[in-house]
Amino acid sequence: MSSSNQEQQMKSDTIMEQMKLHLATEEGKKLTKKIGLVYQINVAPKKIGFNEVCYVVDLKKGEVKKGKYEDGKPDATFSFTDDDFVKVSTGKMNPQMAFMRGAMKIKGSISAAQKFTPDIFPKPSKL
């Protein structure tokens, strides 16, 4: 199964999987229309820059994919640790704070980065 490999057990995987499903919904399509940007998100298990897993959240096409963006340059690229990505995407830590703490690194366009807010991600529900 998708989580059987120890190295792949990232919390961000769950969020990204949900995001993928979310983008297929009515609301997800609205989001794609509203933002229209491509983000690449690099998530590291422990330390930013090490053993990163890349995701492309393509809010032009409405897709989420694992791996680097290959159709040119993403509008903005973010780097997180796994925990910090979950915190930011679930609204526990806002992106500015994350940035100030060094928990989030940004490359690319500032205006695109500004549109990266916790509300674009669907929130996980609790069993």
Partner: protein, 736 residues
């Protein structure tokens, strides 16, 4: 302190940028984006308006906010240390231009007595009207980005920048530098900015506010956009950001402390400081004081760490005072001997020396373990590497490499852990250090609750109750969850080994939508009774909710292992690593054996959530519900699974079933809110979140989600009520 400065720094920016011509120029040059190109064409580009009234209010010789009245707002130990640098730094600059006006400041910081300035690289124009000087100077800064060459501080005539101008230049320069040098590391960038700032005699003690990095092309857009969108200048956004945190943390003092803590070692602020150190160091390349500088920085870090230990005994300890003094440069280490810096009064060092010979004191041990080996060795290493380095770039890299504070701190932590230091104080120290490390990776507000530390309520009316467990069970049954929590807390305070008390407390927290506390309580229940199936399942569920797959899997496997009927499916010994597919396989075998055991299907449902096989999970929960149709938590599990697979409409009807069975089920109310929010129905989601919070104001997740929904619903007018957790206002505004 640091936080306050940051806030004030940001706030000051606006007036100058709009009212002061020099500030405007600085803005135009550093702040706008097409600048880079534009500026090369028109080297002395001025965005001067035509009224020519530039310097009317500003005689050039007497300068408001010149370097002589720089307000030092620094009080913390670390900052005092930096203060030394500022003073020294400015000495160098003002020496060059203005030797007469400034009295020599006796310099006590670790023998950093003079700062030979590097004078090889002069900016293009250093005379003429201040504007031109500034303009051409900023150009040379921008140009330095092309080669990625370190930008050297230069001598400039006094430009008459006001504090506001300075703030602007500083803030903008910080932002732009991150654009220009996007491919360089943070230390390099800070070095560049510091060089610029020091040349302009701008203090960098007030940390630049609110910058975001990015590419220069977007900068103008961003800037204009943010100016246009927000009523105030963008820095205000940050201020309110901080105010919110202030609210969260209760009071200005605790806020300031927590800010400092968060920024202690790895934070941006400290990187900034690091940059400042670099600047100083650059100015005295080849000097003998670098080891001391570095050592001071190291000890400063440690002193900051230690300062977080609130134990007054420890705060007063000689060791702590020693570290503080070291960090401020009042003491130095030469040839493994502690030396007092020349200009520092007091007999502290003598005292220390005395202790050093004294015997068993902890500080003494520390001195043996660390001071003789650690920093001195480190300093030597630095000196060696330093001798090799030639080019500036290389030098900067080396400095940053060696400047990694964590390694040293870790090494120290390791020694503490090994019990090299063996009395109470060492324990205190170690736990302070652990807290500190935790805070580096988690939000302050979570750190107290994080990882299994149960937090008791402060005032508990049930303490002293003859039978709090029974009372708790009763309250739980009635659905008064927050009350039940209190009664059960009283129970476990009375009987800390009562697994049932802890278990029910955990369940109550889970239903109250507080997974951190639920986990903490369940861990205690697990300690008291490691084979309790309900506890194992609960822990599995809670960790699933926290997206902690390996841990969740471990407990679910534990459930199978300890089950009287299915235990035989599991291995005798818990395998070293568990694979989801294997565990799911075992449960499926068990389900084949007893297809009518609802519990097996419940665990399977959780397992499939873990692997995000939502369709299977839904199937399992539905099967379990056929067997246990009145289990409200099961309806909620079904709903949450449907919600996570983005079948929001189905989820809402499942939650409704749960709420019909248990009207005070906070988790289901909060989940309702999530499902509405995920469908873009923010107004509805707000009502459900508020309802959940009215029942349990401690449900932090719901507060965070509420805030997001409020801003998505364009109800920013209510954000303040949310941030101050004012439920009365919210309930009135959003009745359900």
């Amino acid at each position: 302190m640091a936080g306050r400065e940051l806030v004030m720094g940001g706030g000051n920016c606006e007036p100058s940028s709009s009212t002061n011509p020099l500030g405007a120029l600085a803005n135009a040059l550093i702040g706008s984006s097409s600048t880079k190109e534009k500026l090369q064409e028109i080297p002395t580009s001025t965005t001067r308006p035509s009224d020519g009234s530039y310097f009317a209010g500003e005689p050039l010789s007497v300068l408001p906010g010149s370097e002589f009245d720089h307000p030092q707002q620094l009080h913390s130990q670390g900052s005092a240390f930096l203060q030394g640098f500022h003073a020294g730094d400015q000495n160098g600059l003002s020496d060059a231009w203005n030797e007469i006006q400034r009295p020599q400041v006796p310099y006590g910081a670790g023998g950093i007595s003079n700062f030979p300035m590097e004078r090889t690289q002069l900016p293009p124009t250093v005379d003429g009207p201040p504007q031109r000087v500034l303009s051409s100077f900023l150009h040379s800064f921008i140009n330095s980005s092309h080669g990625g060459i370190p930008f050297h501080p230069a001598r400039l005539p006094m430009l008459g920048l006001s504090q506001g101008d300075k703030q602007c230049v500083r803030d903008r320069a910080s932002i732009m530098a991150r654009h220009f040098f996007a491919d360089k590391n943070e230390d390099f960038i800070n070095g560049q900015v510091n060089s610029l700032l020091s040349s302009l005699d701008i203090d960098n003690d007030v940390r630049a506010a609110g910058f975001m990095p990015g590419r220069s092309r977007e900068m103008e857009e961003y800037w204009n956009e943010s100016q246009a969108l927000k009523p105030h200048n963008p820095a205000d956004g940050w201020i309110s950001e901080f105010s919110q945190h202030q609210n969260t943390y209760g009071g200005p003092d605790s806020w300031v402390q927590s800010f400092e803590r968060e920024h202690g070692a790895n934070g941006w602020a400290s990187e900034f400081e690091r940059g400042q150190n670099q600047l100083v160091a650059m100015n005295q390349m080849g000097g003998v004081n670098i080891p001391n500088l570095a050592l001071m920085e190291q000890t400063r870090m440690l002193a900051n760490t230690l300062a977080q230990n609130n134990d007054p005994k420890f705060q007063n300890s000689k060791f702590f005072q020693f570290m503080s003094k070291m960090s401020q440069g009042e003491l130095t280490i030469e040839d493994d001997q502690i030396k007092q810096a020349v200009s520092v009064p007091g007999d502290w060092a003598t005292e220390y020396q005395h202790q050093y010979n004294g015997g068993q004191a902890w500080a003494d041990q520390f001195a043996h373990e660390e001071i003789t080996r650690g920093p001195a060795g480190w300093a030597n290493e630095f000196a060696t590497e330093h001798a090799i380095g030639t080019s500036n770039d290389e030098w900067v890299n080396e400095f940053s490499k060696l400047h990694v504070n964590d390694d040293w701190a870790e090494e120290f932590g390791r020694q503490v852990a090994e019990g090299t230091l063996d009395d109470n104080t060492a324990d205190n120290w170690a736990s302070a250090y652990d807290d500190y490390l935790n805070e580096q990776v988690s939000l302050k507000q979570e750190s107290a609750k994080s990882r299994g530390v149960y937090e008791f309520s402060e005032f508990n009316p049930y303490v002293g109750h003859p039978n709090p467990l029974k009372e708790g069970q009763e309250l739980f049954r009635k659905g008064l969850l927050s009350e039940a929590v209190l009664a059960l807390e009283a129970e476990v305070l009375k009987n800390p080994e009562n697994a049932e008390g802890w278990r029910l407390l955990g369940i109550t927290h889970a239903e109250n939508d507080d997974d951190q506390q639920a986990i903490a309580a369940m861990m205690r229940a697990h300690e008291a009774d490691s084979t309790n199936l309900e506890v194992l399942l609960s822990l599995g569920v809670s960790h699933t909710n926290e997206l902690e797959q390996p841990t969740a899997l471990k407990y679910l496997y534990g459930w199978l292992r300890h089950h009287p009927k299915y235990g035989t499916f599991a291995a005798q010994q818990e395998p070293e690593s568990l694979y989801h597919a294997d565990v799911a396989g075992l449960f499926n075998d068990a389900a084949k054996m007893s297809p009518d055991d609802a519990d097996i299907h419940i665990v399977l449902g959780v397992l499939y959530n873990l692997s995000r096989e939502y369709d299977r999970a839904i199937e399992s929960f539905k099967r379990a519900l056929e067997l246990k149709p009145r289990d409200y938590s099961l309806w909620n599990k079904l709903g949450a699974t449907q919600a996570n697979s983005i079948q929001s409409a189905d989820a809402i009807s499942a939650y409704q079933k749960a709420l019909d069975l248990k009207p005070n089920y906070v988790r289901a109310w909060a989940n309702m809110g999530i499902s509405y929010a995920n469908q873009g129905m923010y107004e509805d989601s707000i009502r459900y979140y508020v309802r959940a919070l009215a029942m349990n104001p401690k449900a932090d997740n719901a507060w965070q989600y509420l805030r997001i929904s409020l801003s998505c619903a364009s109800r920013n007018d209510m954000v303040e009520a949310c941030d101050s957790r004012n439920l009365d206002v919210l309930q009135k505004e959003f009745p359900l």
